[in-house]
Symmetry: C2
Subunit: 179 residues, 2 copies
């Protein structure tokens, strides 16, 4: 950040009164510009113990496989966001299940929140965000072509838990290099 | 938002290519400025079935009682943020427990994530953010003087669950008037 988005003046980094962290503060008006972690919401869409994965049609990680997920938008709940992202990336409206995984990725200021979901319609398929959308059984997962670290971690947990039929909430920290 | 924080030029609201929501886009450079919900992290700090509450020394809701909570900062995990906020508002370092409550407040673009926590030291007390810090048994909670809607909701759930000694994750939507 270089300029104040309220008045367009130069910003400076300083600790505001009553705070204990440096913030982007305007040199002309009173604005303080906070930046905070973002929430990524998504699902593990399944049917008959197979998981629906999407081959990314967008950067980053174009052409690699992922679980449907994206940034939570203003005005929506975590569950609504996860449902919307799943529809945008797989073209199908899933039946939402419980919250299953929370990943903290503090190096890139992200929190992932993934719900279980059941694929209940046959209309899944590619979208503007996905080159292909396909079901994979555990033995067929393209482990070497997964897009982000949260994907293999989630899939391994999911298939392990599916053998017991119990899906406790899993909270984990993922280490990433800072951007 | 009025001005681009990258180049200081005027912003306009439009839907960028490949997106489906209006964003603040710079009229001069390529910057798109996204705003997303913020995460509030905190704890329910307890000892002997009493809850440690803080009387707010800052606006909003100055002088009302709350559970320690605040914005998750860049670079920290949910648990680290909850621990830090608890220390900042109660002056004590708690023993962190499980994630207990998630509140979606979509009208004000907030997601609350609250952990159980155990007060294990005797050094709790007021801070620059809290006028008073006190333990309350269920019958003594100042129900009419609680700061935010998430506080009574969390306390009611907590005392109900404490009777069974089981604290399942509770996810809820709280309705608030938009700012």
């Amino acid at each position: 950040m270089n300029f104040c988005y309220d008045c367009g003046s130069k910003l400076e980094k300083r600790i505001p009164d009553g705070d204990n962290l440096e913030r982007d503060c305007c040199t002309e008006c009173d604005s303080i510009h906070y930046t905070n972690p973002k929430v990524i919401v998504g699902t593990i869409p399944t049917k008959d113990n197979k998981v629906l994965l999407c081959k990314r049609a967008i950067q980053p990680r174009y052409g690699l496989w992922t679980l449907p997920a994206g940034f939570l938008e203003n005005g929506e709940t975590i569950e609504e966001g996860a449902f919307r992202e799943t529809k945008e990336e797989t073209n199908t409206e899933v039946k939402m299940g419980n919250l299953y995984a929370i990943f903290n990725i503090p190096q890139i200021n992200q929190v992932y929140m993934l719900h279980l979901a059941e694929v209940i319609h046959e209309d899944y398929g590619k979208t503007s965000e996905s080159l292909e959308v396909e079901f994979f059984a555990e033995k067929d997962i393209p482990w070497e072509e997964l897009a982000f670290p949260f994907v293999p971690t989630t899939l391994k947990n999911f298939f392990k838990d599916s053998k017991k039929g119990e899906y406790p909430l899993r909270t984990q920290i993922i280490e990433r290099k800072p951007r």
